[in-house]
């Protein structure tokens, strides 16, 4: 996923967040004043000793709110079970430009600034207590929401007791971060408030929002992308009990950064309950003009990509002079890998509530991009950004789709018309039929081989991305990246990010191709990878600083060696076959081995063993959960249907036709974490791209059939030749 200006941001984030954050206190009462002290925008301490952590990043289930709260608790010196967690609003003024959550960046980006902010707060509290006790600051420390005296055991002051002084002190010139040995939570599997809420069913998702006079909206959208509304008849819809009003929704243009815009033309039914709105929508009579996309299908797009491959292309990135080396041998091995469109299918359907009051707008919506959404709402309404509030409660899954704000735009457009709060809820069908999607892909790989069938150089030409787009290529075989393949004219379906974004087709190609190269060279696929990593150089990521760090082949090699041991690589021969993959994503690394069997052309996955290096694992239980979930996600994309398009219409409308992994299909999963004290790095996506190739490689081991297309259906496997 493309990030905006991340470099500027990260350098600013260090101390920039602490500026202008001291709130003036206006307390003249002689009683203990009720102080709400906000020394920075992450924390609020009240004189009743409540400490509230304000989570700036979006909680989508990946556990960011818990991870960050643990960092805050440790650096400040409060206990986790006393720390309240609130979810912040979209705000560049408060959080700089780092708030939007994507590319598994949450913890990685906020970690340094959050620690500094908390260490500063701690220093102020300690200084205030020291002043009260008239002793040196070095004689005090923070723990459990109190400042303690080192010289007199048991002597302590609660945070609340020193706020009056603390809030008047100047920011300390120097702060000291805690040493890892002082961490009480970081590095442990801590159960956070988000888990507690979810286990009670009380998570405040935006789909639960209810406001006085709120109308519930359902929208019938044009089923073909870039089609238009010809006419509609609302007579029957208006007869449905509970329906209040029917309104046309004018489309918004897809913006150059396609996170914004792309509201489809539609007809909205506003009612006094979600159900009435859904029923009203069913009763609408609508004529659409389908436009040019009404003639196209998935197959058309695959053909367009294949045709585009025939157009000459130039190498945009040419590592270690790959193109020259490539020309030295006439022996070339080629493979093409195909993957279909995909839907995010988050369990909480897209929804947003908006209240346009003329001079200001307030939005409640689980979004991954509260800042981008706020800017967009300002753009749409013509109001200043300061007049727009975006509340960002936890979401029932995001996976990239909630980085795009079309669903919020719809609620704002409708509330602007009716001037009462409007909650737009997408039906499940809407989320499949008229959404934004992970694009269809076709990736071309070629290797020139020497006399012993060893690869000399690789050429890659894929279909999502732009020249220079980040690809995590760790091996020592020289590689050249060519122009990306294009469609003839525009999208058939609008694009959304999807868990791991471009890394999924990239991983499918790279890690299948590495297996094929090993097979050509008559080598064990796991050992072959290790060999190809042995002399690989560190890849500098200076062109894409949001990636966070350089790419270290040695780390990936280490995960491979570990997974070989943990999964008993190659020692089993009991009807269970293994496939391996190794992937990096930003600054995390995962190697995995899949154990499968094939019976009647059905692939059964018994177990997946994975090893992750994500730097310091702040919360190991959550790190493992992310990898478990990513594996399940990858398996759905490998073994289940995907999205197909016929005559512009998506063919999958609900979970019956877009099936996902269910508990019966779920393999055992074992996740091991590499011990590390490096800066924590993302874990939400790195586990996805290696899944499809690990399975396909195992299928090859089991059947001798090389499948280069997703999903692997029984009929595909049956018709394939070994």
């Amino acid at each position: 996923m493309e990030r905006r200006n991340f470099f500027k941001i990260t350098s600013l984030a260090g101390g920039g967040l602490l500026l202008s954050t001291y709130l003036p206190l206006a307390c003249t009462s002689t009683e203990v004043p009720n102080i709400d002290w906000e020394p920075n925008f992450f924390i609020r301490i009240n004189s009743d000793n409540t400490v509230t952590f304000i989570c700036s990043q979006s909680e989508l289930g990946q556990g960011t709110s818990t991870g960050l709260a643990m960092v805050a608790a440790d650096e400040l010196g409060v206990s986790m079970d006393k720390l309240k967690v609130e979810f912040g609003q979209g705000s560049t003024e408060r959080y700089g430009d780092v708030q939007d959550t994507g590319g598994s960046n949450g913890l990685r980006i906020v970690w340094p600034s959050l620690r500094e902010a908390m260490a500063t707060t701690r220093a102020l509290l300690v200084a205030a207590a020291a002043q009260k006790w008239q002793i040196d600051v070095d004689e005090c420390y923070c723990e459990d929401g109190h400042i303690h005296r080192k010289d007199q055991e048991g002597q302590k002051l609660a945070f609340g007791e020193v706020l009056e002084i603390a809030s008047t002190l100047p920011a300390p010139r120097e702060i000291k971060l805690k040493e890892p040995s002082e961490f009480r939570y970081i590095g442990k599997s801590v159960l956070g408030p988000k888990t507690k809420m979810a286990a009670k069913g009380t998570t405040p998702y935006s789909i639960n929002k209810k406001l006085p006079n709120m109308l519930y909206a359902a929208i019938a959208r044009c089923p073909v992308w870039e089609g238009s509304l010809t006419s509609f008849d609302a007579t029957e819809a208006l007869k449905v009990p509970g329906v209040v009003e029917v309104l046309e929704v004018e489309p918004t243009e897809l913006q150059t950064t396609d996170y914004k815009g792309g509201v489809r033309p539609g007809v909205a039914v506003l009612a006094n309950s979600t159900w009435a709105a859904f029923e009203g929508k069913k009763a609408l009579k609508i004529e659409w003009e389908m436009g040019k996309n009404g003639l196209k299908s998935s197959a058309t797009i695959q053909q367009e990509l294949a045709d585009n491959y025939k157009t000459p292309s130039k190498a945009n990135i040419n590592l270690n002079d790959a193109t020259t080396l490539f020309g030295r041998s006439s022996k070339v091995f080629s493979a093409v890998y195909d993957a279909p469109f995909q839907a995010n299918a988050c369990m909480e359907p897209l929804n947003a509530t908006a209240y346009h009051r003329g001079h200001k707008v307030e939005v409640w919506s689980g979004t991954q991009a509260p800042q981008l959404t706020r800017d967009r709402v300002a753009e749409l309404t013509g109001l200043p950004v300061a007049a727009v509030t975006v509340n960002n409660p936890p979401s029932g899954g995001g996976f990239g789709r909630r980085y795009f704000c079309d669903f919020v735009e719809e609620a704002v457009i409708l509330s602007e018309k009716v001037r009462v709060p409007v909650k737009v809820t997408w039906s499940r069908e809407d989320t499949f039929l008229t959404s934004k999607y992970h694009p269809i892909t076709k990736d071309y790989w070629q290797a020139s081989l020497d006399a012993n069938n060893y690869p000399i150089a690789i050429k890659y030409r894929g279909s999502i991305g732009r020249p220079g787009a980040y690809r995590c290529y760790p091996y020592s075989i020289p590689i050249a990246f060519y122009d990306y393949l294009k469609y003839k004219d525009g999208w058939l379906l609008p694009r959304a990010s999807w868990r791991s974004v471009y890394a999924h087709p990239w991983g499918l190609g790279l890690e299948s191709f590495m297996d094929e190269l090993a097979q050509n060279a008559n080598e064990d696929p796991l050992q072959f990878r290790i060999k190809m990593l042995e002399n690989a150089e560190v890849v500098e990521q200076k062109e894409l600083p949001w990636v966070g760090d350089d790419l270290y082949p040695a780390k990936l090699k280490n995960t491979l060696e570990m997974v070989a041991e943990k999964a008993n690589w190659d020692t089993t021969n009991d009807g269970i076959y293994q496939g391996v993959s190794a992937m990096g994503y930003n600054t995390s690394y995962v190697a995995m081995v899949a154990d499968i069997s094939v019976e009647n052309n059905q692939v059964k996955v018994h177990k997946v063993t994975a090893v992750i290096d994500c730097g310091l694992a702040v919360n190991p239980s959550q790190v493992k959960a992310q990898i478990e979930g990513s594996i399940m996600w990858g398996l759905s994309a490998t073994l289940k249907d995907g999205i197909t398009v016929e005559q512009g219409h998506v063919q999958q409308s609900n979970y019956d036709t877009y099936d996902l992994m269910r508990i019966t299909d779920a393999p055992d999963i074992e996740v091991h974490i590499v011990e590390s004290n490096d800066t924590p790095s993302g874990t939400g996506e790195v586990g996805v791209p290696g899944v499809a190739p690990a399975i396909l490689n195992a299928v090859y081991a089991a059947t001798g059939k090389r499948i280069r297309q997703l999903p692997i259906t029984a009929s595909l496997l049956e018709s394939a030749v070994s």
Partner: protein
């Protein structure tokens, strides 16, 4: 009766229980996922059976006893299930989990020591896009063990 309380719902007869709970009674623990009985997010108990509230109109429920995720105070098994879900760190986004826990509680009420197959057949109608299945299996076993200990 919902969670032991006699409630009257002012809504259209055909309104599915799901929407009556969520939009009329403000009991938002029960979730909308698919509206077609395909995902299990809306699972509640009607007279002890796990059912999909998105497909039952309220008119069919007169005199029935309904338990929702909010009903752990009146349903000790559900309470144990919720505890097991918490300590096993099952939920990710959590959206599917009300339904998962309701299905699990109904299973454990009938079968306090379910085999893997029994767990699978009781839980297969509950989708989780976050992919928490491995931990769901673990949590059901933990809840079963816990119930077992209590019984002894």
């Amino acid at each position: 009766m919902i969670n032991g309380e006699l409630l009257e719902v002012d809504a259209h007869d055909n309104m599915p229980l799901l929407w009556a709970l969520r939009d009329v009674l403000d009991m938002t623990g029960t979730k909308y996922g698919c509206g077609k009985g395909l995902c299990g997010a809306c699972t509640v108990h009607v007279d002890g059976e796990a059912v999909r509230s998105c497909t039952i109109p309220i008119s069919a429920l007169e005199g029935k006893e309904i338990t929702t995720i909010e009903g752990s105070a009146v349903n000790p098994i559900l309470e144990k299930v919720q505890d097991a879900w918490y300590v096993t760190d099952v939920p990710q986004c959590g959206y599917c989990q009300s339904g998962q826990m309701m299905s699990a509680a109904a299973l454990l009420a009938k079968n306090s020591n379910p085999s893997q197959d029994a767990i699978h057949s009781a839980m297969n109608g509950n989708l989780c896009r976050c992919g928490t299945y491995v931990r769901i299996r673990k949590a059901i076993r933990a809840a079963a063990d816990n119930l077992d200990q209590n019984a002894n």
